[in-house]
């Protein structure tokens, strides 16, 4: 009798709607929690997506769709004699030679100069060709050595238009050009200038050199075979590059940064899901008698489960939808304000394009709904399992207070987490690091009931005369699952926030200390030379050394060096290594250099990326020379994530013949005035060079460095705030819900003679205890997680190590805030409980 199959939807609808209508704020908080989590995850994903497509564009743009390319391994380029050699290789239909230089326009705008032979580029990379738009028709301008085509972004950045002149500086040379048209094939955001290849060679000192060869292959050519055939014929200054390599190279530069952002966002989603879980749990616990009634009246078990899931589903769906919209807005705002590297400094300027990603939207929306459903899973199971007859009697917490909470599962999770932190990186990403953090978090939360019990047990050993405190402790002791629920929310959000805070504070402190170590001189003089080459020549250097007031002067030059085709260029730093202000912040004492070996010092990131250890021998592809060097030590370098290698300045000059240096570091004599010395130094510079000189005091550089750090982590600070906010809301919601459910209890207490004030004190004590226990546990757990961030995640992602610094003040503030929040909320909710209505509530049904 009675059909199976369909659910009593009307009954379910009545139950759900009446509940929400009565407690709209409960449902609103749950929806908000999901929305926040989804919004953050989606926003970060969109921002990353826009970053990636900017990369793609940049690469596609600059390579212009050639079938195959040969690139120089350093900015010094390779001999142009390679061009006719390549042209004769069978399988190659056409070769387009390219001069590719980093340059500056009008002194401030960075752009890439491509010197093209339009006649070959028209065949191989037609998208790079310029379009005449200055109204003139003198066709010889196409071959002119003083005409240039600029992309829209280049014109924007330099502030010049078609028909005007523009000053371009590159490789130590400056020249003025007439803008005769634009580059319609270059998408927005790419600052490119195209000129005749002969002009580029002549004007920028590249005679006899090229940086790139673009190939169009014959239709039947086998690209892979051709690549390897060509690769074997290339000199050491050139290498084959495919689109894939280029993308990988640029992608890997900021991949770790972006993955970390993704993780932070997922954590936010996790916290949101957790809040939904606690909200759902409480709601189900509170309605247990109602559920019992309706089970007795004839609602099947599975219909009840379905009802709870339906509630969770609606919360998840509404929250996810709102979250997606919010995330879209957040991403647009962040991109507009901070750029698609979110201040990380990986991209230059331009407002990046935000493209809506429907696939990602569906994925994050589904994640939000899933988090909500999972949050409702346990409560639903609880409700289904409960015995209606028992629940009707409203015995409250069905768990026997005599049972001691188990710690085994929690311990297992913690041990697994600790083990996971020892695992190495996967594909350059600290997957196991994040997993171990999640396991630690789960273990910590699972440990809360036991921890609460144990800590409270300490209190219970001595009798407490204060009634309120005693009642508070007894209550927490007696209802461990409810206490655990509130605690878990606090611990989850606090630990995440503390972990990130400790990591950031440690990092910042280490960076500050490092800045002092690497900037020991008083003044730094740099030539505004974007790219490599140019600088103070040997004569000028000597003159500068002998200026009055200069105690010591060191010179430095940075050259990009390609050690692997799919990794970003490493910086080769030629600098004075000896001398009072020449030392490097080595991580361990330097090794003794074998005689006749050339020593180099490799930075931490370079050592991590390329697997270099002290004592190794390397071959460096410095154009034309390729010396074999000995790694004498590893030094800390926060400034160059792609890695750097230091070689002695004189050795570099000896190897390459290049004595020009672009940065001078000056230690002043005691009593010498900085401004006077600067003026004298300017005076000894050759004409024209002084205009490109910028002088910085080390303090300025340090401040800028820290400011850059803060900008990069601005978004992290924001993301930190979210979990704590969610946590506080969670605490408030939990405590107030529990308080309201105990109206009868308070009424009873008042009946037996407990004073209003004492009940108030009891509530505050309960909240404060929860806040304190949760805060301490959260901080402890957060510290453990922060060590994973510091010792595992950061080194595996960026190949940086740092020293741990503890923000004690922050800890104190957090605990105080939690105590105040929890206690205050309990009080706020309890004021209802203390109204006269409470006294009569004893008589009431519910």
């Amino acid at each position: 009798m009675g059909e199976r199959g369909s659910l009593p939807l009307v009954a379910m609808r009545w139950m759900i709607v009446s509940e929400w209508r009565t407690y709209p704020s409960r449902i609103a908080i749950a929806v908000l929690a999901i929305a926040l989590g989804v919004a953050l995850g989606f926003a970060v994903h969109l921002i990353n997506g826009s970053a990636l497509s900017e990369f793609d564009h940049a690469i596609q743009t600059v390579s212009g769709d050639a079938d195959l390319q040969v690139h120089a391994t350093s900015a010094a380029g390779f001999s142009e004699a390679l061009y006719p050699q390549m042209a004769h290789v069978s399988g190659i239909a056409k070769v387009s030679p390219v001069v590719e230089l980093h340059a500056q326009a009008q002194g401030h705008a960075a752009l890439t100069i491509l010197g093209l032979d339009v006649l070959s580029a028209a065949v191989v990379t037609p998208r790079l060709l310029g379009r005449r738009s200055d109204g003139q028709h003198d066709p010889s301008d196409f071959f002119s050595d003083s005409a240039i085509f600029l992309s829209a972004a280049a014109m924007q950045a330099s502030g010049r238009r078609v028909g005007q002149s523009i000053d371009i500086t590159s490789m130590g040379h400056s020249a003025s050009f007439r803008i005769i048209g634009d580059l319609p094939g270059i998408p927005a955001g790419q600052a490119i200038g195209v000129m005749d290849i002969a002009a580029a060679q002549w004007r920028f000192g590249q005679l006899g050199k090229l940086q790139r060869l673009d190939f169009r292959l014959a239709p039947d050519a086998d690209r892979a075979q051709l690549s390897s055939a060509l690769a074997s014929r290339l000199p050491l200054g050139a290498e084959i590059v495919t689109r894939h390599n280029e993308e990988t190279r640029s992608d890997s530069l900021s991949r770790a940064y972006r993955v970390n952002l993704d993780m932070l966002a997922l954590m936010a989603l996790l916290t949101g899901g957790f809040l939904v879980y606690s909200a759902q749990s409480l709601s189900v616990a509170r309605r247990r008698p109602q559920f019992a009634l309706i089970r007795v009246l004839g609602l099947e078990r599975r219909s009840l489960v379905a009802q709870i899931f339906l509630e969770a589903l609606v919360v998840g769906a509404v929250g996810a939808l709102g979250g997606l919209l919010l995330g879209l807005g957040l991403a647009a705002a962040a991109l507009h304000l901070l750029g698609s590297d979110l201040g990380g400094g990986y991209f230059s300027g331009g407002v990046p394009h935000l493209s809506f990603a429907p696939g990602a939207a569906i994925a994050f929306g589904a994640l939000g709904v899933a988090a909500s459903l999972v949050g409702g899973l346990l409560p639903a199971r609880d409700a289904a399992r409960s015995q209606p007859a028992l629940a009707l009697k409203n015995l409250g917490d069905a768990i026997d207070p005599r049972v001691h909470p188990r710690i085994r599962l929690a311990l297992l999770l913690v041990v697994l987490g600790a083990a996971g932190s020892l695992a190495p990186a996967v594909n350059g990403l600290p997957i196991f690091g994040y997993a171990s953090m999640a396991l630690l978090l789960a273990g910590g939360i699972a440990m809360m009931p036991w921890l609460a019990r144990t800590l409270l047990w300490i209190f219970l050993r001595r009798p407490i005369s204060n009634v309120s405190l005693s009642l508070a402790i007894q209550r927490l002791w007696g209802a461990p699952s409810q206490a655990a629920l509130a605690l878990s929310g606090i611990v989850a959000s606090t630990s995440l926030m503390i972990a990130m805070a400790v990591m950031v504070v440690s990092f910042r402190g280490s960076v500050e200390a490092w800045l002092y170590q690497v900037l020991p001189a008083d003044l730094y003089l740099a030539l505004d030379d974007s790219g490599v080459g140019g600088g103070f020549d040997a004569v000028t250097q000597n003159n500068m050394r002998h200026v009055e007031g200069v105690a010591w002067m060191g010179f430095m030059k940075e050259t990009p060096l390609r050690l692997a085709p799919d990794k970003p260029d490493v910086w080769l730093i030629a600098r004075t290594v000896d001398g009072p202000a020449g030392g490097l912040p080595l991580l361990s004492p330097g090794l003794a250099v074998p005689p006749n070996d050339i020593p180099v010092w490799v930075s931490e990131p370079a050592a991590g990326i390329y697997g270099i250890h002290p004592g190794d021998h390397l071959v460096l592809p410095i154009a034309g020379v390729t010396p074999r060097v000995f790694v004498a030590g590893i030094w800390r370098d926060y400034g160059r994530q792609q890695g750097s290698i230091v070689i002695d300045s004189d050795t570099y000059t000896r190897l390459t013949g290049d004595a020009r240096r672009s940065i001078a570091s000056v230690a002043l004599k005691k009593g010498a005035l900085a401004d006077a010395v600067i003026a004298r130094l300017r005076a000894v510079l050759p004409a024209g060079v002084a205009d490109h000189l910028s002088v910085s005091r080390s303090q300025e550089i340090r401040s800028k460095g820290i400011a850059a750090f803060d900008r990069s982590f601005a978004i992290t600070y924001l993301l930190e705030a979210i979990p704590i906010l969610v946590g506080l809301i969670g605490v408030a919601a939990t405590v107030s819900a529990q308080t309201l459910a105990r109206i009868k209890e308070f009424g009873m207490l008042r009946h037996i003679g407990v004073l209003r004030l004492q009940i108030v004190a009891m509530l505050i004590a309960e909240g404060a205890l929860l806040g304190a226990i949760g805060g301490i546990a959260g901080i402890g757990l957060g510290l453990a997680m922060s060590q994973i961030l510091i010792r595992v995640v950061n080194p595996q992602s960026f190949h940086w190590t740092m020293d741990t610094r503890i923000p004690w003040l922050l800890f104190i503030i957090v605990i105080v805030a939690l105590i105040v929040a929890a206690g205050g909320t309990a009080l706020f909710a309890g004021r209802r409980a203390l109204s006269t209505a409470a006294v009569t509530a004893v008589r009431e049904d519910w």
């Binding site: 142009e80 006649l119 070959s120 065949v123 071959f143 002969a198 060679q201 005679l207 006899g208």
Partner: protein
């Protein structure tokens, strides 16, 4: 598309050549172009080669091929152009000379022309017009005169390829006044010009995947100058005919925008080798039949009556094309439109070129 871009650049180079007329401000350190002067003798073998000081130069080979599948017309041309760029630029890429090449095949079975062109700046051995002898190279296309006086011409595309040996059977035909060929009334409107008629062709033609042996007769024009035509000229007609009796006829006229001839010239060499230089009034082209191009809507006088005045009296040659549609239209990609095809006459065969029937072409 490759062709698209190529033809655009050819047009640009043609424009480049016209720079000589534009009153453009003198470029700093621009090239100084050599002038074509009367009273200068051509010397060989030096004048077989390129003359880099002059603005424009070409080696223009046309001819008839006998193939197992019937007759074909062919044309292979190599141009050298000297753009107006700063001569101080020491870069090896500096476009001080540009090499262009064009090849076309007239196949009556196809009923229209198939052609291709290339362009590159001279340098690195990849494209070069050598001095001292005829040796023009552009990637794998070439026209080289060998030690045995035989020209080897190679050019081709995916659609067809030519590998021809051209053996001179007669002495060179020096055009104009010892090579000084007037193209207009003023002294500056002239070129140095010689021809090699009656070249005996032997070689291969690759078409449609098949390679066949061919033979035939060809004609080579080698001409160079720094300025050619008066500003008011709109186009020209040119023909070079290998006569069956061993003689050669060269005739051209320059027209204005209204189609009226402003200049004409040519030469006639009879079977014995006696050459008559044809002056402006000695040459007359008249249209016998026009052909309307269905593609471009242009009327070409494909059948012409050519009347030349020789000391011995007038002679008339009626030129009829191998087939009507030998039009080259690259206007869609910014190139020129002209008609250039194999023609025969009573007692001879050769090529006819009709330029400037669409819009004015400045050269």
């Amino acid at each position: 598309m490759i062709r698209r871009r190529m033809t655009r650049w050819i047009l640009l180079v043609i424009w480049l050549v016209s720079c000589g007329f534009a009153q453009a401000p003198a470029r700093a350190e621009g090239p100084v172009y050599a002038d074509v002067l009367p009273g200068h003798s051509l010397t060989f073998p030096a004048d077989y080669g390129a003359h880099p000081d002059f603005r424009t130069e070409w080696w223009y080979v046309t001819g008839w091929l006998h193939t197992p599948d019937g007759p074909r017309g062919f044309q292979i041309t190599f141009f050298r152009s000297r753009p107006d760029v700063d001569q101080n630029n020491p870069s090896a890429f500096s476009p001080k000379q540009i090499i262009l090449a064009h090849v076309a095949l007239s196949d009556p079975k196809l009923g229209k022309l198939i052609d291709d062109q290339r362009i590159a700046r001279q340098g690195f051995g990849l494209a070069n017009a050598a001095t001292g002898d005829t040796a023009v190279v552009l990637d794998d296309w070439s026209l080289v005169r060998g030690a045995d006086d035989v020209y080897t011409a190679r050019a081709g595309t995916e659609a067809f390829g030519l590998n021809l040996h051209l053996r001179p059977t007669q002495a060179l035909l020096i055009q104009g006044d010892r090579g000084y060929s007037s193209k207009g009334a003023s002294a500056g409107e002239a070129s140095y010009y010689y021809s090699a008629p009656h070249l005996s062709v032997a070689g291969t033609l690759r078409q449609g995947g098949r390679t066949v042996e061919v033979s035939g007769d060809a004609w080579l024009d080698h001409e160079w100058s720094s300025s050619f035509l008066a500003a008011r000229s709109a186009g020209w007609d040119w023909t070079g005919l290998n006569l069956d009796d061993g003689g050669s006829l060269t005739a051209f006229q320059v027209r204005d925008a209204a189609g009226q001839p402003v200049w004409a010239g040519g030469s006639f060499r009879d079977a014995s080798g006696a050459t008559v230089v044809l002056r402006r009034d000695d040459v007359q082209f008249s249209t016998k039949r026009s052909w309307l191009s269905p593609r471009t809507g242009i009327h070409y006088p494909v059948v012409q009556t050519l009347t030349i005045k020789l000391p011995s009296g007038s002679r008339q040659f009626i030129l009829t094309p191998l087939f009507d549609d030998q039009e080259l239209d690259s206007r869609a990609t910014g190139g020129p439109v002209y008609w250039e095809g194999a023609v025969k006459t009573d007692g001879g065969k050769g090529y006819l070129e009709l330029v400037g029937y669409a819009t004015a072409v400045k050269i």
